[in-house]
Every structure is written in structure tokens, then in C-alpha cells.
């Protein structure tokens, strides 16, 4: 069986590129990044089962496209980008499927916050989660990465392919909207 040791990014890539060690490389890749990617997706799609499906899709895409990965870029940034795209596409698909209006676009996610298993928090924490769902998906994404994951704007910029200036503006606007919502409620 494979060792549980966590490998470094370069070692994982080396293992992945050699057909003889691909399986070990892939396992190490999953072990190293599954949690961070899971929480990134989960905060966006709320439901555990949806997150589980998307996380698998992300790793499959990574597996299928590892040959296209440029070694001068960061593996985790690349994977984060794939996960982000998967989330946004999933949310878009759901909205088209249920034909909900833009104002109530995250209504289904709002219901999931109340009904899905594996969610528990204080009243204030739940209020914050509901406030987040009032934001457009891309703004919510930026807020999550900055507020919860404590990522640098430069890092978020690489993942979202948005300028640092736009990201700062988006984040401050999101904070303002959320604080207003919490005050009103």
C-alpha cells in the first residue's frame, strides 16, 4: 500500500509524469490538496454531496490534463482555478435548470443551508452564511478566499484572472453589503 507521507509539489509532479509511478503520484496529490479544495468548493455550493461530486471532477480533470500543466506555474493555483471554474459552472447550471430569477438566484442554496446535513453553527454564523448568499457568485468567491482562507490579493488575482484593484474593490463592497444585511436582520 502507498505511504502516507506527504510529498512536496515538485515530487508529486515528477511521480505523475512517470507511468510507473503515476498511481502513487496521484494518491499523493489527492492527500496533499483534498481538504483545501474541498472547503473551497463547499463554501460555494453549500451541500456536502454536491461538493463531493465536484471535488472528484476536479481531480479527474487534473489527472486528465496533468500533461498540459506548465511546471513554471504553481500546481495548487492551477488546481484552485479548476475548482473555481467547476463551482461557477455548477451554480450557473443549477440556475438555468431551475430558471430562477437573478434576485432569488441563490434561493436553492439558502434552503440547503437550513436543510442539508453536516451544517451547524451559531445563529450569528448562520446569519453570515445567509448574508453571503445575497452576493453575486463571483463576489462571494472573492470574499471567501480573502475572509475565510486569508489569501493574498495577488494569489486570488492569479486564480480568478482579475486585477488586484478590482478584487480589492469587490471585497470592500462585499463587506459593506454583508454588514448592512446583518444590521438589518
Amino acid at each position: 500500500m502507498f505511504a502516507r507521507t506527504l510529498y512536496k509539489e515538485k515530487e508529486i509532479l515528477k511521480l505523475l509524469k512517470d507511468p510507473e509511478s503515476q498511481d502513487l503520484g496521484f494518491r499523493q496529490l489527492v492527500l496533499a490538496y483534498q481538504q483545501r479544495l474541498y472547503w473551497h468548493i463547499r463554501k460555494m455550493v453549500i451541500d456536502h454531496d454536491d461538493t463531493d461530486d465536484l471535488l472528484q471532477e476536479v481531480f479527474i480533470k487534473v489527472w486528465k490534463n496533468i500533461d498540459k500543466f506548465r511546471e513554471d506555474s504553481n500546481l495548487f493555483t492551477w488546481m484552485y482555478k479548476i475548482a473555481t471554474n467547476e463551482c461557477l459552472n455548477f451554480l450557473k447550471r443549477n440556475k438555468n435548470q431551475f430558471k430562477v430569477s437573478m434576485e432569488d438566484s441563490n434561493g436553492a442554496l439558502y434552503n440547503k443551508l437550513d436543510s442539508s446535513p453536516y451544517i451547524s453553527g451559531t445563529a450569528v454564523q448562520m446569519k453570515l452564511q445567509k448574508a453571503l448568499l445575497k452576493l453575486p457568485d463571483k463576489q462571494r468567491l472573492v470574499f471567501n478566499m480573502k475572509y475565510f482562507d486569508d489569501m493574498k490579493y495577488e494569489e486570488i488575482s492569479k486564480i480568478t484572472e482579475t486585477s488586484v484593484g478590482s478584487l480589492k474593490a469587490s471585497y470592500h463592497l462585499a463587506v459593506k453589503k454583508i454588514e448592512e444585511y446583518i444590521k438589518l436582520d
Binding site: 494518491r27 483534498q34 453549500i46 453536516y118 451547524s120 450569528v124 452564511q129
Partner: protein, 145 residues
């Protein structure tokens, strides 16, 4: 209430052992995908075989077209020779009348648009005596006709 006053504790939970089991589940998914890669290789080989077969067919077709062209040119040359010249050639050749008749494709004569009115096939009706003479001359027995 300010956002900075809130604690950032995660409200989302995962089922027990989820992260412990996920790598095994993922490995399983990848195993399902792997045969795809083999299929792709086989398909690639099949494509190469098809390409080779097509190439052989193309070469064969080019060859056949050339042969047809050559055949057509022989037919063309023959059509330029008059019936009289052909008959004279056949009289001079060692081919006997029986052999000639045996090898003659009667359908060609039947479908020929050219009226057969030369001295060997007179258009006016022949009396029985003349026919007998002709048959004797060409040594053809009546039952053969």
C-alpha cells in the same frame, strides 16, 4: 455588528472518515478512466490500419484506372480499323471459320449500328443454291447454323 467581530469557525462539517476514504475512492475513479487511455491507443492503431488499407486501395484504384485507360486505347485503335481491313486480316490469318465462329461474340454483331452490307454479307436475298455454294465454300455444315 462588524465582520471582524465574528469568529470564522467553519459551519460546514463532513461525514466521519470522509477525508480518510476519499483518496481510495478517487483512486477507484481513476482506474475506471484508465482503460479509456488504452481504448484510445487501440483506436489509434485501428486508425493507422484503416489509413494503410485506404492507401492500398488508392494505389490499387490508380493502377486499375491506368489499365482501363490502356484497354480503352486498344478499343479506340481497333475502332479506327475498317471492317474490310479486319476481314482481310482474318482471311489471311490461320484462324479457321469454325474457330472464328466459335469465338465470335454474336451480341456484338446484333448490337452493331454499322450496316453489314459488304460483299461478304450481301443485303439482297440469296437463293438456296447460292447459299449451298457459300456453305460449301466456307465448309460450314447447316446444322451448325
Amino acid at each position: 455588528m462588524k465582520l471582524e467581530d465574528l469568529n470564522k469557525d467553519n459551519v460546514f462539517k463532513v461525514p466521519d472518515d470522509y477525508f480518510e476514504n476519499f483518496p481510495d475512492r478517487m483512486q477507484e475513479r481513476i482506474r475506471e478512466i484508465k482503460p479509456d487511455r488504452k481504448v484510445r491507443v487501440i483506436r489509434m492503431r485501428t486508425l493507422i490500419n484503416i489509413a494503410a488499407a485506404v492507401a492500398v486501395l488508392v494505389v490499387a484504384l490508380i493502377g486499375l484506372t491506368r489499365i482501363n485507360k490502356e484497354t480503352a486505347s486498344v478499343d479506340q485503335l481497333l475502332s479506327e480499323i475498317s471492317t474490310e481491313e479486319l476481314v482481310n486480316y482474318l482471311i489471311d490469318s490461320e484462324l479457321s471459320t469454325d474457330e472464328f465462329l466459335e469465338n465470335l461474340d454474336m451480341s456484338i454483331i446484333a448490337s452493331s449500328e454499322e450496316p453489314i452490307t459488304d460483299e461478304f454479307m450481301p443485303s439482297e436475298s440469296l437463293d438456296e443454291e447460292t447459299i449451298d455454294e457459300l456453305l460449301d465454300e466456307y465448309e460450314i455444315e447447316l446444322e451448325l447454323l
